[in-house]
Amino acid sequence: MLTLITSTGASSMLDLLAWSPPGWGATLVQGLLNTIVIAFGAYALGLLIGVFGAFGKLYGGPIVKDVLAVYTTLVRAVPELVLILILYFAVTDAVNEILKFYGYDPIQLSGVGAGIAVLGIVQGAYSTEVLRGAIQSVPAGQIEAGRAMGMPPTLLARRITLPLMMASAIPGLANLWLTVTKDTALLAVVGFIELTKATSLAAATTKAFFTFYMAAGVLYLILSLGSGLVFSRIEKWARRGQRNIGRGS
């Protein structure tokens, strides 16, 4: 490390990270933006799958329960990298088969769309488990009371179950967000230019490996620490009713 800094010099290290083209700053930030967009999309898709999956696992019929059990078990037992490859090829092939069926030309899926779809399906399995646990933590009396008042299931979910489970779901969901930001790095292996891939391109071109990987590490850390702060505020908000109970007001 010391020899590297002295050989390249601290000023040239800053030149490499500069915004405009001799520097690679803009490339890294563009990669970071791609990472955030994909993480956000995949997280949202995962949450959507997770909400339906969790309700299905708890209140669904026997077939729905078993199919969901197979889905969560399979996805959680196979490495994300392998799943990404399988889903990437499968999703591309499926889309092209459908296009061919309707007489269109095959297309190459955009990296962002495929990345969101693939990571979203993976996230969905984990979200299902987190949300299922959170729904189970809602006191049964609350749900029974809602039913006794004649609430239809969707209204019951919207007004009673989902708000009450938020507090216990947030820590697990925060972990999942951190996981998905880091899992976007796996798309680098498929060749998609997010932060890790952009970094490796910059590092391979300039041979300044430490500079760029450290810089990317700092960007990832800022992302994870920053979202940690956001999630702790969300958790405070989700627990706003509970504090009063705790204080015994």
């Binding site: 490495p79 990298l81 450290m214 990317a216 990832y220 850390l221």
Partner: protein, 256 residues
């Protein structure tokens, strides 16, 4: 068994068998015999990578956990920062930083290049082992911190009251109880660790994932090697889960 075999499950099992049968019959598995030796050696590499890095990582994690749970501030803080940095950055980035960064740095340093270790350091696997070990240590360090703090203080006070030296109390009372508490989590983490080993294929270690990619490159067959990979990883995950279930059942615990 009777509970398991409900009518809809029998139908689902039949569908599953049909899917497996269709895969075996109509997909192209002719490459399998030729690549069998490579597949076996790939599975072996994945297995020892998982076990070795998990073992080394646990040793580090016990130290990290202890430093955070009971250490003085000048030990607790670095341990906390280490865990945050490892958990806040992708493993792929850490791996590439170590492999490409150290790999480009070491040849410039004469005493490393002339040392007896150089033939080993020129290969890729030490960097893979290092990155996976450091990563698992960061995650397990947090787990062990919680486990050390969860051991009732009465146990430690009793040990001190019996005049046990601190190291003996740690070895006989604190560590076993902490590990017992953390065992289910450690089992889950070991599956996660097994699932992160294919990343080493990106730095040219020939594990099972890299063998499957090789098959695709040689024969242009896409789905079959990936399906084989998925099956192999699922089997390994199942073995790990079974092993930890057996381990947990061996430790006597009192449930009210």
């Amino acid at each position: 068994m009777k509970d398991f075999l409900k009518p809809h499950r029998i139908v689902m099992l039949v569908i599953a068998v049909l899917i497996v049968g269709w895969c075996a019959y109509s997909m192209n598995w002719s490459w399998l015999p030729k690549y069998m030796p490579k597949i076996v050696s790939g599975i072996w590499i994945t297995c020892w990578l998982t076990v070795l890095t998990m073992g080394l990582g646990m040793v580090l994690a016990v130290m990290l956990g202890l430093a955070q749970a009971a250490g003085p501030a000048w030990l607790a803080w670095p341990a906390k920062v280490y865990c945050s940095v490892i958990r806040g950055t992708p493993l792929l980035l850490q791996l590439w930083l170590l492999y490409f960064g150290l790999g480009s740095l070491f040849p410039q340093i004469p005493w490393i290049k002339d040392s007896a270790l150089w033939p080993i350091l020129r290969q890729a696997w030490p960097y893979g082992v290092l990155a996976l070990t450091m990563s698992v240590a960061g995650y397990e360090g947090e787990v062990m911190r919680g486990a050390f703090k969860g051991v009732p203080s009465g146990q430690l006070e009793a040990a001190r009251a019996m005049g046990m030296p601190r190291l003996t109390a740690f070895r006989r009372i604190w560590l076993p109880q902490a590990i017992h508490r953390a065992l289910p989590t450690i089992g889950g983490e070991m599956v996660l660790q097994m699932k992160s080993t294919p990343l080493v294929a990106t730095i040219t270690v020939v594990d099972i994932y890299s063998v499957a990619k090789r098959v695709t490159q040689d024969t242009f067959i896409v789905y079959e090697p990936l399906l084989l990979l998925a099956v192999i990883y699922m089997a390994l995950a199942g073995l790990i889960v079974l092993f930890f279930r057996w381990l947990e059942s061996r430790i006597p615990s009192r449930t009210a």
